[in-house]
């Protein structure tokens, strides 16, 4: 009994290791080019190509790709930039729509046959995006309100009796300058890791259950659930791209509008 419990047997559940892929070129050091790196570059190239091909020769009556991309940019412009930031948000539409499309492409790689790896599940990409967003909203705040004014408006929110600042100022500092970028990248990458793991577990499980005659009937619901969850992951991909963009807009808006 003890000996059986001390060794694990049965279904080899895929763990976090599935995110690690062997190097195709170079060594396991700084210059390791593996499958994921190629997908990262592919995501960037696809994003650039989508914008360039759609708006290279814009026609008055949009057709095909231009139609799709105009719908996306219009959604970001009206639904996110203007609604969250206000009229000043128009200046940030290029940044926001680029972030939206890049995150969306990276997420959708999860369900594209032949790739099936969400680029954003490797934490490096969301971290870089979050650092970019951190710099953008801080620089915007400093430009709009001046260095001291920005620090003052962040750390000392008005309308609070002064002894409360002993409590409020550290909380505001941590939440604005540390937790904002941290939760921004954790939200995106953890969602993508979770989605990738769930899909892998159900597809690998289907294969495992097909291996023995006795368990073949159980492979059917496993496969059905895997297909259903693929649809759910498409929803999650779009939602996470939307949430990443809208949070970027909220942070920029918070830096622009001084609280009274």
């Amino acid at each position: 009994m003890l000996a059986a419990l001390s060794g694990r047997a049965g279904f080899p559940a895929p763990g976090i290791d599935i995110l690690k892929t062997p190097c195709l070129w170079g060594t396991n050091g700084a210059l390791c080019v593996n499958r994921v790196v190629i997908y990262m570059l592919l995501a960037a190239i696809v994003t650039v190509c989508l914008f360039v091909l759609a708006f290279r020769r814009p026609s008055l009556v949009p057709r095909g790709l231009q139609n799709v991309m105009e719908a996306i940019v219009e959604f970001v412009r009206n639904g996110i930039a203007i609604e969250v930031i206000g009229p000043e948000g128009l200046a940030f539409v290029p940044l926001l729509s680029a972030i939206f499309v890049f995150v969306l492409v990276g997420n959708l790689f999860e369900v594209i046959p032949g790739i099936q790896f969400p680029v954003n599940s490797r934490t490096a990409i969301p971290v870089i995006l979050a650092v970019l967003v951190w710099f953008v909203f801080n620089i915007v705040g400093v430009k709009k309100q001046g260095g001291l004014g920005y620090i003052k408006s962040v750390l000392f929110p008005p309308g609070v009796p002064w002894p409360i600042y002993i409590l409020v100022t550290p909380i505001e500092f941590v939440s604005t300058f540390v937790l904002r970028p941290f939760t921004l990248f954790v939200r995106l990458s953890a969602n993508m890791i979770a989605g990738h793991l769930i899909l892998t577990i159900f597809f690998v499980g289907t294969g495992y259950l097909l291996g023995r005659a006795l368990t073949i009937p159980f492979a059917v619901p496993s496969f059905a659930l895997a297909v259903g969850l693929t649809g759910f992951e498409i929803l999650v991909s779009v939602l996470q791209a939307y949430i990443f963009t809208i949070l970027t807009a909220v942070y920029i808006g918070g830096a622009i509008h001084v609280e009274h």
Partner: protein, 83 residues
């Protein structure tokens, strides 16, 4: 004696770690689960009462979900850190 103690320790580690991982995520999901349910329920109520404000409510709802969900996701990441 020493051998069976070693086996017992290995068994505790092998059985306890998956249970711990499950508990970490499960416990982290309770609060955000209640919170998101409450939040979406209230938002639906608001949208039903004032359909013309539905767009604004929806945006704010997604924002609230994103903030609440972060706690559960940090628990999810912790579940992998537990070794």
């Amino acid at each position: 004696m020493v051998h069976s103690l070693g086996l017992l320790a290995a068994a505790v580690v092998n059985v306890g770690v998956p249970i711990g991982k499950g508990l970490v995520y499960g416990l982290a999901a309770i609060g955000p689960g209640i919170g998101i349910g409450f939040l979406v329920g209230k938002s639906v109520e608001a949208m039903a009462r004032q359909p013309e404000a539905a767009g604004m409510v929806r945006t704010t709802m997604f924002l609230g979900i994103a903030f609440t969900e972060a706690l559960a996701l940090i628990g999810f990441v912790l579940a992998f850190i537990v070794k």
